[in-house]
Subunit: 215 residues, 2 copies
């Protein structure tokens, strides 16, 4: 099957729009004007709406792009001989992505729904994370009461810290994360308190509603 | 000197307005409509504006009330025989105040300016905090690289976490804080990274600008 010039053109425009959206959303946040994205991509508004009938569809496409990078980098961390370094590098990597990308900071803790591709990527990230945690706990270096949804809480707190410090204390997140990582090291007799998975999932769904991308 | 009935009435109205503002700002945030506060206090808008010509003046009055409570509770923590318990109880107390009061969550990390009473209360809180940290570090229970402005970062992250979880995972902040506290315990060879005091102060001033209460 050959691709018609028209179809190739459409694919190129779509690609341009996702790239432009990535830049504009990262710097101006998830509620950046769609007009600015069309302009950045060098296409008309009508073209944008033809490819992405809603802001959510565009957000989902950008987010899928970023999650593919997370999945790829996870391979490296899973192959690390040192289970603590593998686990902590992944966490540092996620927080660093948040620091570099304002839109991603909140998207990482948002359950954007209605995008099957995103669901599959999320599943892969979660599976990798569960394995990183399992390895570090089996090796006795990560506290036993740490759960995968604690990562969501860490990322939510980090997003809030970045929002308040990004312009004036850009290294603050790294310092704070060092304190947290030191607190996650296995030491006998530690036991954390509640915040069940179901509650955290609800908080993630509420984030999606905030952007009008919920169920 | 006797107080005229008119003056007593004015003082009562002022008190009512501060109390009402405390409730309304705590539940609806710092940008809650001033009309709602006047209604809650049972006074007219003109009375509100006579007492508090700007939103900032009202915020400063409410905030001073809360800071007086912080100063009072600090006495207990400073008198604790166990320096770790004294320090950590103060931190838990601050985070708990944030969890209970949406407005305070961000105010605690905002340099509201132009209110000399606030400045004096802030000075007292800072002096108490510095002493709590000093005692815990001298006793060898708090990591040596912990600085008083790290408390600001912890409170900023906590505010962000609360914003995202308060409605659905109300215990999340406590769990996260346990991880941080475990990371703050003194263990040999720990060294945190940058985020100098000057940067953190700038971030606090930026918070004030966000609410139109900066210099």
């Amino acid at each position: 099957m050959t691709t018609s010039p028209l179809r190739a053109d459409a694919a190129r425009n779509r690609q341009r729009l996702v790239a432009a959206a990535g830049v504009v959303l990262a710097t101006r946040g998830l509620d950046a004007p769609l007009d600015d994205i069309a302009r950045e991509a060098g296409v008309g508004n009508a073209t944008l709406y033809r490819h992405f009938p809603s802001r959510c569809a565009l957000i989902a496409a950008v987010f899928a792009d970023r999650l593919r990078e997370v999945v790829a980098s996870m391979e490296t961390f899973l192959n690390d001989d040192d289970p603590w370094r593998g686990f902590s590098s992944h966490l540092i990597h996620l927080c660093e992505l948040q620091a570099r990308d304002r839109a991603l900071a909140d998207l990482l803790t948002t359950r954007v729904s209605g995008a099957p591709e995103l669901e599959e990527l999320r599943r892969q990230v979660l599976a990798g994370l569960v394995e990183l945690i399992r390895r570090a706990q089996v090796a006795g270096v990560l506290r036993k009461d740490f759960k995968h949804h604690d990562v969501v809480l860490i990322l939510m707190a980090n997003a809030g810290l970045l929002e308040r410090t990004a312009d004036h204390a850009p290294d603050a997140w790294r310092r704070q994360l060092d304190f947290i990582l030191d607190g996650l090291r296995q030491v006998d007799g530690r036991a954390g308190r509640g915040a069940p998975l179901a509650d955290v999932l609800e908080a993630m769904q509420a984030m999606a509603q905030r952007y009008g991308c919920g169920d």
